[in-house]
């Protein structure tokens, strides 16, 4: 079912070029989007996808290039212009006003109004409608967005973009914090929009889902367009080959490792923001996956363990010693490390350099007689940049100037650099490209082999099933069940996460295979 557009393309971009200082982010890029077409934009981290789309939305001014919408020249002076011309976009980095409520954020810039006054009833109606559309009626329109989990925020962003009647909808990694069910719902909506003739640009590193939803694809590599074509008949391997210029197949490399004695135990732990007490333990050399839906309380559990939130009951025991209070530094000293799911809000100090961010949790190795040995530190950081293939100009570059995926890699590199022995990873592969993901899985396997313990929270079930030794499922703030990975399958995990009940036998997990 190929629907080749008959009319001229909705959007045509040609010769788009954009540099940031010495970095050439886009180099003479062309791009075409047909009516009612879903067009996948793919490429490695830092390939220039987000930059290209920001040029389209008017958020960035290109150094050179032409754009046309419906055959008419288009050169937006700013996002307001872009919106007026019918371009609406979900940005990769969350763009919500934390002090405003869900409803206010959804309506921002397009408030229901009657002569300058806010029309509350109309607002409530439309917000309810659109939240129902994304199947999250439980999100309260009156709650401040700053209090939502990252996943819920992403839902709010999607709702906002959908509210807009646009000709072109750009989705920059809309599902990076969403689970399967939410992604599937988004695809349905996207198909509906397509039927209405909306052109959709879809950026994602989940290549399977991209293949399912997109009609055509364009691949960027190092700021250049390296290929474009119909999705049908193009295999995963072909896409990857275009992206990285070589073959790559081992998506979930397994590194053999042995599970040892317990190193971290949460004993009826109840954090200040947790709904119910949770008991869970983690052993040396173990990779424990944690699954759950948006707001199921996984993040809150990690925060309590790490001492970021207050503890109201129960205990956290690390290597036999009980830890208490809101004292993350004491955890770090005991060898714990946490990777936050909210890399821009919490995970990284955006105005500081890559080097600072990477070494912040462990500067001791570079200290001599009270002074910091910068050369030595930069060398170490340079090594990590190379090992994780982080696209950065230099260790001194502010981390805010990196692409989303590369920022995530810096945050991860910090934990590796810190040599934490218990790693609490919250959505660690968020926004990271396929190839790098594989590499990160390999790293994690390697850590387990060294006897380190890894707690791996993810909304992406294949990676949990692919690398975890054991998987625990959360539902509405409590732990449903934890079992060896081999005893789960995708359907069983989904069922447990949505219903809060695990089937007696993993094999019959398909029963609820929604």
């Amino acid at each position: 079912m190929r629907d080749v557009p008959a009319a001229p393309p909705v959007l045509r971009m040609a010769g788009v070029t954009k540099s940031f200082g010495a970095t050439r982010a886009l180099d003479d890029v062309g791009f075409e989007l047909g009516r009612g077409e879903v067009h996948a934009l793919i490429g490695e981290n830092g390939a220039g996808k987000s930059t290209l789309m920001k040029v389209l939305s008017g958020a960035l001014a290109p150094d050179a290039g032409r754009m046309e919408i419906d055959g008419r020249p288009y050169s937006p002076s700013g996002p307001a212009d872009g919106l007026r011309s019918g371009v609406s976009m979900i940005y990769q980095e969350l763009t919500l006003a934390p002090h405003l409520t869900v409803a206010e954020n959804i309506m921002l810039g397009r408030e229901a109004r009657a002569a300058g006054w806010l029309d509350r009833r109309e607002t409530a109606r439309r917000v309810r409608e659109v939240l129902a559309l994304v199947r999250h009626p439980e999100i309260s329109p009156d709650v401040r967005v700053g209090r939502l989990s990252v996943g819920a925020k992403q839902v709010v962003e999607i709702a906002r973009a959908l509210l807009h009647r646009s000709r072109i909808l750009v989705l920059d990694e809309p599902t990076s914090s969403l689970g399967q069910e939410d992604s599937r719902r988004l695809f349905e909506i996207v198909r509906g929009l397509k039927g209405q003739g909306v052109g959709v640009v879809y950026i994602s590193h989940f290549l399977e889902e991209v293949r399912r939803v997109a009609d055509r694809y364009t691949v960027l590599r190092d700021g250049r367009s390296v290929g474009s074509g119909a999705m049908e008949g193009t295999g995963l391997d072909d896409l990857i080959q275009l992206m990285v210029g070589r073959k790559f197949s081992r998506l979930f490399p397994r590194v053999g490792h042995a599970v040892g004695g317990p190193v971290l135990a949460a004993d009826r732990l109840k954090g200040a923001r947790m709904a119910a007490p949770v008991s869970l333990s983690l052993a040396r050399g173990e990779i424990l996956g944690v699954a759950g839906l948006i707001g199921s309380g996984r993040t809150e559990f990690l925060r309590a363990v790490f001492g970021l939130d207050g503890i109201e009951g129960g205990a956290v025991v690390v290597s036999g010693a009980e830890l208490s209070g809101r004292r993350p530094w004491a955890r770090v000293r005991r060898g714990l490390g946490l990777l936050s799911e909210d890399r821009q809000g919490e995970g990284l100090a955006l105005s500081l350099s890559v080097a600072d961010n990477m070494t912040l949790s462990d500067l001791a190795p570079y200290r001599r007689r009270g002074l910091l040995r910068s050369a030595r530190r930069n060398k170490a950081v340079g090594d990590w940049i190379g090992k994780l293939k982080i696209k950065a100009e230099s260790p001194a570059q502010p981390v805010g100037g990196l692409s989303g995926g590369n920022q995530q890699k810096v945050a991860l590199a910090r934990l590796l650099h810190q040599k934490a022995s218990v790693l609490l990873l919250d959505e660690p592969t968020r926004g990271i490209d396929v190839v790098s993901k594989g590499q990160i899985y390999e790293w994690i396997g390697g850590l387990a082999r060294e006897g380190k313990a890894v707690l791996f929270v993810s909304s992406y079930l294949p990676e949990l099933l692919g690398i975890a030794d054991r998987i625990a499922v959360f539902h509405r703030g409590s732990l449903v069940e934890s079992r060896p990975a081999a005893a789960w399958d995708a359907a069983g995990l989904m069922a447990a996460a949505t219903t809060g009940r695990a089937s007696k036998d993993a094999a019959t997990g398909q029963r609820n295979g929604t």
């Binding site: 763009t95 919500l96 006003a97 002090h99 921002l108 300058g116 006054w117 806010l118």
Partner: protein, 322 residues
């Protein structure tokens, strides 16, 4: 039980902002020496009148602070507007025209602030600090380094403790503040513009990406704040009956403090009219009570400093709960 707690929570939310104020009033009401005098209606009236000038400045500042900015030129702007009004009255302009000129002068200064902040992309702190000097200098210049003596007109009745038509009960200036506070509260809560001001303060990048004309909004915010300062200057002139260019030195800190005490956040996105008004009254009552006690100034300064911290700490404690 949870419902009862919710109701209690709502009650605290309504009375919450007043906790600090009640604390201050209770403090002095408990001291036998001044109780009688302190709690009299006449004293409350006099505190209210004393609060008018800071209150008007603080209303404008609330807007600025919610939008993520700051206006250090507020106090100088007040002085400038008061001098311009006096100058106009003195030069024979009708009182109404003089008042208008004073208010517009304030607005103009605000407009320039907004223009510089958005055009030059400078931090508001620096722009308005520069403007603080410029406006103060201009005021002294216009006044010829002196007070401007102006003939008495109805403008001077605006701040009279016993207003002319006696059914007014309070000085007209107090009514002006009440009306404007209500108007600003409505503007902030129930209009699109108000919503946009919060959005700009909460996350300017987001506001821009959502298609708001952030620069226009900011210019407007500073201009409106300037108008408030202008009006405050008129009230200052009304109160002093002369245009004094040296008046209100350092008052910008009081104004900003009132907003912050009332829950405004200097990083933007938070603040409210009710809170600000409470902040203004807390400081006025403190000054009034301390003077009444006849404590030496240094003790007053120490006590006021300590109570400001305590009042805000109390308020935050209340917020911590939820």
């Amino acid at each position: 039980m949870s419902r009862r707690r919710a109701r209690l929570g709502r009650a605290l939310d309504v009375f919450g902002p007043f906790v600090g104020l009640l604390l201050v009033i209770a403090l002095f009401a408990l001291i036998p020496e001044v109780r009688g005098r302190f709690l009299r209606a006449a004293n409350f009236k006099s505190v209210a009148t004393q609060s008018v000038i800071v209150a008007l400045g603080a209303l404008g500042m609330t807007l600025v602070i919610i939008s993520g900015g700051i206006d250090l030129s507020a106090a100088s702007n007040i002085a400038l507007a008061s001098v311009v009004t006096a100058y106009a009255v003195n030069a024979g302009a009708g009182p109404l025209l003089a008042v208008l000129l004073g208010v517009l002068t304030g607005g103009l200064v605000g407009l320039v602030n907004g223009g510089l902040v958005t055009r030059l992309r400078l931090v508001p702190f620096i722009v308005t600090m520069g403007m603080m000097g410029i406006a103060r200098g201009a005021a002294k210049w216009i006044a010829g380094n002196q007070k401007i003596d102006a003939p008495m007109t109805w403008v001077n009745e605006l701040m009279a403790k016993s207003p002319r038509p006696s059914w007014l009960l309070l000085a007209p200036g107090i009514w002006v503040v009440i009306l404007l506070a209500a108007a600003l509260a409505v503007l902030l809560k129930h209009t699109v513009f108000g919503r946009h001001v919060f959005a700009v303060g909460s996350n300017e990048a987001t506001a821009r990406l959502c298609g708001l004309r952030t620069d226009g909004i900011k210019v407007l915010v500073y201009a409106v704040s300037g108008l408030f300062c202008g009006l405050s200057g008129v009230m200052e002139f009304s109160r002093l009956t002369v245009g004094d260019p040296t008046v209100a030195v350092g008052l910008e800190l009081d104004i900003i403090a009132a907003v912050v005490i009332g829950g405004g956040s200097l990083s933007g996105g938070e603040g409210g009219v009710l809170g600000t008004m409470v902040g203004v009254l807390i400081m006025s009552f403190l000054r009034n009570g301390c003077t009444m006690m006849g404590w030496p100034n240094y003790i007053q300064e120490i006590i006021i400093g300590a109570i400001i911290v305590a009042a805000v700490a109390l308020d935050r404690l209340r917020h911590r709960k939820d």
